[in-house]
Symmetry: none
Subunit: 144 residues, 4 copies
């Protein structure tokens, strides 16, 4: 697939939520952003807390902002905290630099079409659900 | 219905989008917020412009903020502009005071469970789709 | 053309500035944004005042935000001021709702690839230069 | 040269991008700011991610803000993090304190005419391209 339509975004969200259910995870919030960092689809499961939409979107936005999955941001936040703090300064605080924000690429190493951000369980589990959704929709997942 | 679950919110969003298609409207963005003003579900159709998520959410948020559909805010913006500007002051600019933000009530005059906000076509058409979604999910719609 | 590359953006900027020189306009600032509202290229001519980059970008951003040239925003600002004020509320004040922000479309009525914003002379003259740049690069200009 | 004209800024940007190509670097974004910290010219190469304009500008702005290349800020962010955080507090978050923001001086130790900020590859490589651009335009580069 080379285009992120609403239909593809819905497939990503629904697959990610199904994956969470399958793995017995806590309630999740899943956000899909386009290549410009703008929301295409979001679902917050019953019991998922009130700030999750911003957290999920912030992981996805961070990934798109720097062109790398949010795991890359998490690593940089540890080794170069002043850099990631500054990124958030110019981003108006919109970036959540922990795993769970995964780039949607047209193919392995291909064009960035958007990103998925998930929040609710551990960052690693959030990320696994994002990857499942992206791959089910026929895209390539880039964790960073 | 007396509770706004994700499942009910999805029903609202999908019915509203179907209504837009039926009426031949422009691409829409539909947001459903819970009683606390927090996003539960959002879909942005292909071709719906990048600020629509904020506009749709801003109509719904405004409705919940004052406990009246955003049509009420639109009227007040004309007769008492300083009041609506001040509302947006305390709301950090999050309110979009034009029709298309409709309260989700448990029944006629019942408890407020959340709100739907729609943006993309004329404000009146946006509102009609919101009402269709709310009623299809078994709730009562309050336009303000 | 169906893609807004840096090379195409440079063509737009340079043609717009040449047009301004040809018409004997004041010093201009020209900004080209992609479909997500992010800067691709900007040039500020000698003597163009210090806020022009934000003004030019704000015209282009407003156009992309609502999917219409900024002339449409200018008209709405007169007939529905509370709506345009609210748009700027959810946009963090990033929109400049006067003519001079012109959508770059892949063809007549085609996909939005970005926008050009110009500031420095009258809004009408700014707009004329934007149109000249867009057309010279093989795209279709949408004034709103 | 003793004045940073748009023509000189274009020379800096184009030389920096050519240098990046020559070294086989990732896609870059290059920003040139005048002595008042205001944008004169910016180019974002195809594939350079969406936050790069703010990051590149933030390196250049930081350099001008303190009168030293952003390498100096990077060192201070490690030894005196509270100082750099406070700088960003008064700067509204506009500073990115890592190498790649280089002062444009009229000559060795001469007047500050502006700064170049580059983002996209490693900070060291970004800085090398900035220096190449500044020197090609006949100015003196101050890394900090």
């Amino acid at each position: 697939m080379s285009k992120l339509t609403l239909s593809a975004a819905e497939k990503i969200v629904d697959t990610a939520l199904a994956k969470g259910g399958e793995l017995g995870l806590k309630s999740l919030t899943v956000a899909v952003l386009d290549a410009g960092g703008h929301l295409v689809a979001l679902k917050r499961q019953d019991g998922s807390s009130i700030l999750r939409p911003q957290v999920a979107s912030g992981k996805a936005y961070g990934a798109i902002a720097v062109g790398a999955g949010s795991r890359w941001l998490d690593e940089n936040a540890k080794t170069r905290p002043h850099f990631v703090q500054a990124l958030n300064g110019v981003a108006g605080g919109a970036i959540v630099p922990v795993p769970g924000g995964v780039l949607i690429r047209a193919g392995e190493g291909g064009e960035i079409l958007g990103a998925v951000g998930i929040s609710g369980d551990t960052s690693d589990n959030d990320e696994a659900c994002a990857v499942a959704g992206i791959e089910a929709a026929g895209f390539s997942a880039d964790r960073g």
